[in-house]
Amino acid sequence: MMLTGRTKAIASEFAPPAHSEPDVIEIADRERRRLGRELHDGLCQSLAGIAALTAALSRDLAANVGPGPAASASEILRLLNEAISEARDLARGLTPVAVRGRSLVDALGALARNVSRAHGTHCVLIDDGRCPSLRGETTTHLVRIAQEAVRNAISHGKADEIEIRLDCRCSMAVLSICDRGVGLPEDFRDRAGLGLHTMEYRADAIGGALKVAPHPVRGVVVTCAFPLPAPAGHRGADAQMPN
């Protein structure tokens, strides 16, 4: 498959040869956890410190100056507290959704809910209810693909609507993440960070293929087509790739 060759080529360029593919994925996950930690234990602490200072100021103003200035300080305090909640939500959103023991549909649903809650973006899961149970490893790869696509849709696409779809045929399934954001820049391949590479690795690892393309109307669609395990008694009758 063409994509596979390409993924490998890109891989050797950004990963030192000593790293095997799972290592690279592991590094990306670790990096995400590190960011979450820094947000939580760094930025949030600063904001909380400033909030405490503001609370002290507000008390001081109330006692020595008057209700007007004290109310302004309280207003700042309220806004700071909102900012703290946002930063904390963000720190959680950056923490990978727990996948273990969950079905793909379950974990994707949790992802959609987390995103909606933490980012104020409408993120929904549309699933055809036909997804068979998958291996844990496959589920993890798919959820991480969706997670990175969503992250990109929010941070680069500024999308306010994201749809995660799961369509299962007999022997193939397609996971797609479609956003209504600003769309891909011409040179997005040249800008690729860890995100696109890792999504490609993951798709490759489960025997699937990944496509990142502009949405026909607006935004971006990321599709991952992957094979489903053959159900007992059935032999892959319609194995054609969707699209």
Binding site: E31, R33, A52, L53, N81, R92
Partner: protein, 228 residues
Amino acid sequence: MPKCPTDATGDGRKTLLIVDDHPVLRRGLTALIESEPGLVVNGSVGSRTAAFAAIEASRPDLVIVDLMLDRDDGLDLIKEIKTRHPGTRSLVLSFYDEAAYAERALAAGALGYVTKQQMETTLLTAIRRVLSGEIYMSEALQRRLAERYVSGHTLEATSTMRALSDRELQVFQLVGEGRTTRQIAAMLGRSIKTIESHVEHIKNKLGIESAAELAQRATQWVETARRG
């Protein structure tokens, strides 16, 4: 018998020491506490060593401890204060969820647990309570403890974690934050072998089979603990 808090300022005011590794937080906390008449912050430090130097020098009535210090463990610090300075009270102020850490903090010897999100509204009350010799905990925590006392068990996710020792939980938390074994060893001043042995125990106690599963579970735990 623990001594009553001494009157270190000589004018009836109570003295406090803040132990938190974040300077902006320390600054804000000092201002907030001192906006309350009768309370004086006579030290604010970021590490265990500095904390003991300050306690010995100024004998504060109350020490406010952050659980996640950069290099040291807050629970260890509380235990050590309790043994070395039984008359000095301690109160935890943490960004981590009460359900995840409060019971351990109380078991270690803290007399209260306040989360940083509720700081402006509850911290001063908690300080007053603890200074007057009572224990401070939120209503939610009181309810949870009472329920467990009555039913003998709890159904919460955090309950399986009770099998872990404080040290194991600390290692588990660090794994969930994305630290490598090597980093954890350096942070805790232990050998890599020791950390690996903690990790083995954690895996056994939680029925975890692989390193990947460990990372997953630990991440999930951190996520829950941050829910606060």
